[in-house]
């Protein structure tokens, strides 16, 4: 569905009198197969949105070529636009317009008749849990509702390829989890190919078949979530031991399943592959040894961990 070769986008920024050229996207190759869900992962400013804007014909590449849904993004921009749905980061509806009108007008700009646009819009409102909000103004909707409305806008013309730019940024955890089910439906129920950008590892992990990590405009890794995470040394397990006398034993027990075990006063930490599978056994083991825990914490590998592994530096080092 997407074949990009050597995509480059440069911007000029001025600081005082000196102009510097910034390579926001630097020689990106990207292939997305039909029916695939690909997560484009990277910190803010890594070039995710810029790449997406080139693929959706909103920005002309400085260099390189890309075909999207079989059409060249520069020479056949109109056909590309017809074939894709784009849900941008900044929203898509006027705050004072009415939700239903916005969706219908959007469909009609794709050449749909007003009856088709209305029918399809109503359908999407039902499916995206927006029923009853047809006449509502977007500015009086919740963040989650507005995002779902943006998705309805992007799907009105039934595109086979959907781009989602930071779909859950700024949403609370419930709204986020809810949106995930709708995004998963795009492929599972509609058979759409999806390219989404995010800076949340758990989001990319949850939704995508494949994760492409981008940093400083360059792609630094591209693999399945499992393989990417396998490169990280595992989940961090942090045990707080109730009795200081048991710390050494606890460390030893943890050492049977974890690597990089370290002790910090009453805390024992180690890296465990697939903590979810290992922990029940570990807890039984500790129980049998008569060790009581005050708390247990499991931290999944974060973007930071993956990043550290694939780029050799922490996100925070910038």
């Amino acid at each position: 569905m997407i074949h990009a070769r050597g995509l480059v986008q440069t911007f000029e920024t001025k600081q005082g009198r000196t102009k510097t050229e910034v390579r926001a996207v630097d020689d990106v190759d990207l292939d997305v197969a039909e029916g695939e869900v690909v997560g484009f992962l990277g910190p803010n400013g890594a070039g995710k949105t810029t790449t997406l804007r080139m693929l959706t014909t909103l920005l002309r590449p400085t260099a390189g070529t890309a075909t999207v849904a079989g059409y060249d993004v520069v020479r056949e921009a109109e056909q590309v636009r017809r074939s894709i749905g784009y849900v941008s980061q900044s929203g898509s509806t006027g705050g004072t317009a009415r939700a239903g009108d916005e969706v219908m007008d959007h469909g009609m700009l794709y050449g749909m008749s007003s009856e088709d646009a209305r029918r399809r819009g109503r359908e999407l409102f039902d499916q995206l849990e927006l029923d009853g909000l047809w006449d509502r103004q977007p500015k009086s909707m919740s963040g989650g509702q507005r995002r779902r409305l943006d998705i309805a806008m992007g799907l009105i013309h039934e595109p086979s390829l959907v781009f989602l730019d930071e779909p859950t940024t700024g949403l609370d955890p419930q709204a986020r989890a809810n949106l995930w089910t709708h995004i998963a439906d795009l492929r599972d129920r509609r058979g759409a190919t999806v390219l989404l950008t995010t800076h949340y590892l758990d989001e990319a992990d949850h939704l995508s078949d494949r994760i492409v990590v981008i940093d400083h405009g360059k792609i630094v890794a591209s693999d399945t979530p499992d393989n990417l995470k396998a490169q990280v040394s595992g989940d961090l397990v942090d045990l707080e031991v109730a009795d200081a006398a048991h710390v050494a034993t606890a460390a030893e027990r943890l050492g049977t399943v974890a690597s990089d075990v370290e002790v910090d006063v009453q805390h024992v930490r180690g890296r465990v592959q697939r903590a979810g599978v290992v922990i029940p056994g570990l807890l039984r083991d500790l129980d049998q040894a008569g060790i009581t825990l005050t708390s247990i914490e499991v931290r999944r590998p974060t973007l930071d961990d993956v990043f550290l592994t694939v780029t050799g530096r922490s996100l925070r080092d910038g």
């Binding site: 898509s92 705050g95 916005e102 007008d105």
Partner: protein, 251 residues
């Protein structure tokens, strides 16, 4: 055909949003009325001094052009708000013609201006203005073209700056000389020669003169030709500017 349909979809959306906002409707309608009632009487005793036999036949055309220029200049502000909401980008990702996205918005500005012009001219007649319908048709047409030009320029400026903080001072900077050197409220002929010469370089002065000429029936004059010529030049230039801004890949 597709182009007209797309322009109409954009136009209808804009009108729907504007008409739903009563403040916008009332202020839009009230503007010409206030000018006419609060400024017209000031001008009446002065009319003889600058050789107009009817103050309203002199004053209404000036007001008309002022409405056309100033109302339209502010059109760009709503475009910035729309851009911020992501509407412009959402429209640009559809296959719709980029020019239609601009033209639909200009149609909104021109219709608003048209209604205001009708109110203004209607009230002018009530207050004693004397003008032939041919003159009024020509005058309003010139005004609408000039208004479309200003709205297109304002939209182009809005889309290239994307900031109200840049737009506002630029518009102020443009509007002051336009207002002072076009003879909108008082005729330039009252001023000293150097001021008249300066106003010769102000395209909108010619437009004001032409609209005035059309209202009082002096069609066959060089001022009329200049006025029509300038209107067409401004209209084509601004439309070209606006279209190229909307078409630009990176807007």
């Amino acid at each position: 055909m597709t182009f007209l349909r797309e322009s109409y979809i954009v136009f209808r959306r804009q009108m729907r949003m504007n008409l739903r906002n009563p403040a916008w409707v009332i202020i839009g309608m009230l503007q010409p009325v206030l000018y006419l009632f609060l400024f017209g009487p000031l001008l009446k005793p002065l009319a003889d001094q600058f050789g107009a036999d009817n103050a309203y036949t002199f004053f209404v055309p000036g007001l008309l052009v002022q409405l056309g220029i100033f109302g339209a200049f502010f059109a760009g502000f709503s475009l910035i708000a729309e851009w911020r909401d992501g509407v412009i980008e959402a429209e640009r990702v559809t296959p719709a013609s980029r020019t239609a996205l601009l033209v639909g918005r200009l149609m909104r500005d021109v219709s608003q201006l048209f209604v205001q012009a009708l109110i203004l001219v209607g009230l002018g007649y009530v207050l004693g203005m004397r003008a032939s319908w041919r003159g009024v048709v020509l005058g309003i047409s010139l005004t609408l073209l000039l208004g479309a030009a200003c709205a297109a320029a304002s939209n182009a400026l809005a889309l290239s700056t994307k900031s109200e903080d840049v737009m506002a001072p630029v518009i102020n900077m443009v509007m002051m000389p336009v207002l002072l050197l076009s003879g909108i409220l008082l005729p330039m002929t009252l001023g000293p020669t150097w001021l008249i010469r300066a106003s010769d370089f102000m395209p909108t002065r010619w437009v004001v003169d032409a609209v005035r000429g059309s209202f009082d029936g002096t069609f066959a004059s060089s001022a009329m030709l200049w006025g029509i010529a300038w209107t067409l030049v401004l209209f084509t230039g601004a439309l070209w500017w606006g279209t190229s801004t909307f078409r630009k890949e990176n807007a």
